[in-house]
Symmetry: C2
Subunit: 473 residues, 2 copies
Amino acid sequence: MQVLEKLLDRIIQRVNINLRELGFDVAPYVRELIQRKQMFKFYAFYGITPHHPLNFQFTHSNLAGSYFLGSCRVTNSLLYKSDIRGDELKKKGTLFQFQDFEIPITRDEQIEIEDSFLIKTLVHNYSHDPETPEKFFIKDTISMHYANIHGSPSYGCFLGPFSTVDLTTMRDCVIGAFSYIQAGEISHIKIDPGTVWVRSPDKFNFLYRYEKNQLNKYIDFTPGNRPKGLLFDFVEDHKKEFERIFALVNIETPRSVPGSASLDRYAVIKPHTNISENVLVAQRAYLKNAWLGKGANAQENCYIINSRLEGYNVTAHGGKIIEADLGKKVFVGFNSFLRGSPDARLTIGKESIIMPHTIIDISDPLTIPPAHIIWGLVTNKKDLETNSMPISEFSKIETKFSLGNMIFEGSGASFISAFRHRIDHILEANGAFFNGAENKGHAQKNQSISFNTIQPYPMGELKGLYPSIIIQP
Amino acid sequence: MQVLEKLLDRIIQRVNINLRELGFDVAPYVRELIQRKQMFKFYAFYGITPHHPLNFQFTHSNLAGSYFLGSCRVTNSLLYKSDIRGDELKKKGTLFQFQDFEIPITRDEQIEIEDSFLIKTLVHNYSHDPETPEKFFIKDTISMHYANIHGSPSYGCFLGPFSTVDLTTMRDCVIGAFSYIQAGEISHIKIDPGTVWVRSPDKFNFLYRYEKNQLNKYIDFTPGNRPKGLLFDFVEDHKKEFERIFALVNIETPRSVPGSASLDRYAVIKPHTNISENVLVAQRAYLKNAWLGKGANAQENCYIINSRLEGYNVTAHGGKIIEADLGKKVFVGFNSFLRGSPDARLTIGKESIIMPHTIIDISDPLTIPPAHIIWGLVTNKKDLETNSMPISEFSKIETKFSLGNMIFEGSGASFISAFRHRIDHILEANGAFFNGAENKGHAQKNQSISFNTIQPYPMGELKGLYPSIIIQP
């Protein structure tokens, strides 16, 4: 057990050294967060398929409950129930277009995690940093429950629970709980909890901040305590239902799934769920009485409960949809929490964009018209006035605009077009547009994955540590 | 799938080249034996502990349902539900005593399986060959169901079902079904089915041969067919009961097991089973209403049903004991089949030696007095006259002796003493003599093993092949 203690101490020290300028001490946040016995209770697992790169190297780490796909190296790290999905990494011999640079990729990209501690974190996509196109690094980094590290190399950072860093290289930063950052490159800054920040230099800058007292109801993270609040309680309440899928070696497919769709065997599928063509359901997703139309997807840590999604819906990593009806091509961003109830259903019109880290939590029925963009906290119809706009209106913004707690600078059209482009790309990557022959994506390529399990030394000096494991084609 | 076909063709050709002088064609025996779909249905698994060497290298092979412990390398091979137990291999820096040679061991010994096809085969112990002390090789070899390759490097051989080669280096040999060979070194010979041969050059030579028509009732193996007969039916009849232990990730211990004993989680334990101190139950053992006294062991592929073993009993790999009462220190050799019934119990007095590959199959109650040695086929009291002797009498043989189908040459005392020595060594290695502090063996060291599972490519060109996997400390 001591070897894990030492590893944790070492990681904490490294992150603190990186964050010394911000005067941020990660120790009280993380030291007692995961009981050590949990760290050798759960097996880790990795996927083997002919459709993905295959290159795993695990050294001197604990990987309890974590999942790996594609190409990843993990060294001197603690990964607790995290998903490291290296299935969108760049391939050797391709060109990486960044602004005017055409960067030749000279070796297969790899996710390289070193001296880091990730808790229930999702790592996905590829390095969007032109300075490091072949290495998606996560070094001297600590991330908390349900953080998303999406296309974002990280060095010396602390990510709070339910935070997302998207397409952004970070150095020596603290990202507050439930903050969403998409800013290209950031360094030496501390982001307050509940910040939603989307920036494209010279093009636009979107900034929303949750009121602290309102945010605390949903997520509250203080030193020495586990995360608290509605969001955390919600996932904890469903934890038990995941036990069975990890306890059995083989899981029967609960219902017929079209040949063009894929349902991960590590997803929980409860009764009355409909899976249409080209649907992707990722591991650790939870579906209950969920109707997923053609090309819809439910990504890691999604919950779709008593809801209907008409088709081509993206429910990004950590999105939660409860008692809601979503029209075609509604996009639900990372970690959004949309909660209606049987007496107060939420209806969202087609082609609307729910910004990442949006909370819609209603007691009366609420309808959002088609083609709207929604952000921040919405608890009733009135809130929509300050937290949503028709996309067509938003596109008209040319220089500066503010509404409620949201500030926007730059071109609204450019912002919307970037979003639309991104949504189409996600649908494409997930295989939503597969026509039986072309446009294969994750939904088609993930259908048949073999899962291998790995476990740590059960006792002795190295208790809790995984042996060195190398898996290559 | 084609890649497995190619691999099998290649292995068959290699073995046939080795066996060309004997004019033996393995193809009709093995080509259709295992349906290809079975070869990607089952996961393989390996154990991680701090007490065993840890060095696994799997390359270009299918390992369906096989288990690995210790140090093994598998290349270009098909291993179907086999056990490769590298937990008794020699350690670097030790001395290997062989006759008058003291051989320094300069690197950790490894089991190296190459270009071979093993079906439900047990590989255990270490290379007893002084010419190759650090490499326990199995090359260009095909072995059938429930064969035991025990401390026996093999090159270019074919082993029939339920055959055992023990402490013997083989080159270019065919070992018939249910034959037991312990002969030091053999080459270019074809052993008929049902041969029990124990030879120590210049010391003794024991030879028994089953009558063909009698043996066929128990095991019959002809080209183009699966093995037939009572022995094969018996294990097939119990196959279903093993499914559950492979389907669950974690198995609860069915009852309290003393801290000094170990019960493998891949053993089947049915009700009314008692596990005393220092007991070892290996993977794929089957216990039902079995009373195991202190220091008893049940090795791989053992079945102990409605029986009582008083203590310090060795039930070697593949031994089967049904409706029997065994006194203290009764030794039951490899693949022996001892079958009483509720109305016709079998009683074996203490310190008796049941030679490997003995069949005792009775319809009336039968009692074997203490300190007897038993061999061959015994179906009633009369058969004991030609198939057993008091050990004290056997020890008096000085030059030559024969009884029934058994011929003995050399020193009976030396033969018995070699056996006794071996039994003590097995008990010691298995931890039967553990006193709470000293004399740890497998029973104590195997208590806490982590199991990792591995699977092949599920589809595509490499379907059925496992990726390259390297596991080291």
